[in-house]
Symmetry: C2
Subunit: 246 residues, 2 copies
């Protein structure tokens, strides 16, 4: 059975490795850009702004991407352990992106800048609000014990769709943020422009690779042998859906 | 069999209707924005720029979105007719977006503006180049007669993934274009800003609704009874994949 599982996933390991290289490259370039061209990081003063892009890319893009991959990558761990890892990554993503959002609002306030006028801000606040909603519903349905398996398996496809949609929407919002930050002297900063555009393209490729991995249905984590047996028992007991159907 | 098909697709008709209302709203708001706030359209002079956003939203977003839905919406037409409609929509999308790209390069040249410095231009040219590549490969594989069904069914999932990825990437590129156009006096144009941000959010929702319809595997167009019979014959003859497997 172990062998059959390993054979089934084809070139997925290479794509996962590629996604990790892309993710680390995205974080490194974001850090390098903000340090080299924008003066680095500080919680007070004019450098507070720079905390925003760093935290959002780390939280809403990198960590959310990692959380989406967890069930594809950890195929031989128990479902419980994999689910806890998924949750821990999303706790980190939530806290870090909240810090990033507080940073930009505090920075705007300190400098008397207008809030929420741009498409970036609209997309960002919508994505983050829906992410919190997804977080609450996901927690109640999949972490709180005692929720019927039929409810879980009915809502799982929606949870997956919204998770992926919010991840892609976070990437699109990042691209808008990069564009906004580069105006209005974009064409007069060619070196920084090339760095930022490269970052944008790498963000898109990171999103595309992860989206591709997730669309391959046959790369889903199959239930472990012991979960399968358990699933049978429950099925017989409840005549409902399988607890290992994830 | 007809009834079974109709029952199977659940609330898909409402989502399709919603996508059409969103698509028409997006086109109407794009036209209204460029007419009311940006002086309208003309092929020569300063208004040539405005041809660009209109053509790109019509070609790369609206018509490509329609082309993606064709196999879900036309469930009782022959596969051949559905495929021709998919092709015709993509011919229109290609020609119209080519006009839009020519418009912006001619406008830049006439005014001595720099080309290709922004993330919007990088994402746009990458998306359009990959769209042409997808077009050529799709034409050779699925329209030229005589290609083995095994090749077609092997490449179909990749064709579908790249089609969806390029559609979503076109939407992200549109949002970047809207942001770019609004700088650098974005916060000083509150009324136009709200209109453009609304357009951006509707573009995202249009993309999300179509993406959702396409991710529901059970909403795929099933083979018609006569295609199914044909498929059986071919399967027996070739021991390969089914010609109706789409």
């Amino acid at each position: 059975m172990e062998n059959a599982l390993s054979q089934n996933i084809g070139f997925m390991p290479y794509l996962v490795a590629g996604s990790q290289i892309l993710g680390i490259a995205v974080l490194a370039i974001t850090g390098a850009w903000l340090s080299q061209y924008r003066g680095g990081f500080s919680w007070s003063g004019p450098l507070q702004f720079n905390v925003h892009p760093l935290c959002m890319v780390l939280g809403m893009v990198f960590l959310c991407g990692e959380a989406l991959l967890v069930y594809r990558v950890f195929r031989h761990e128990t479902k419980r352990a994999t689910k806890i890892l998924h949750g821990v990554l999303h706790v980190m993503a939530l806290v870090i992106s909240l810090v990033g959002i507080i940073a930009v609002f505090q920075f705007h306030k300190a400098n008397g800048y207008a809030d929420m006028y741009s498409l970036h801000s609209w997309c960002g606040i919508t994505t983050f609000s829906l992410y919190i909603l997804q977080w609450i519903i996901g927690f109640l349905l999949f972490f709180v014990p005692g929720v019927a398996y039929t409810y879980r398996s009915r809502f799982k496809p929606l949870h997956e769709f919204f998770g992926r949609a919010l991840f892609l929407s976070s990437i699109a919002t990042s691209l808008l943020g990069l564009t906004e930050k580069m105006f209005s002297d974009y064409s007069q900063r060619p070196a920084e422009g090339v760095l930022v555009n490269t970052l944008g393209v790498l963000l898109v490729v990171f999103g595309a690779v992860i989206a591709y991995i997730l669309t391959r249905e046959e790369w889903r984590r199959p239930p472990l042998p012991e979960e399968q047996a358990l699933s049978m028992d429950f099925k017989t007991l409840t005549e409902g859906d399988s607890p290992t159907d994830q």
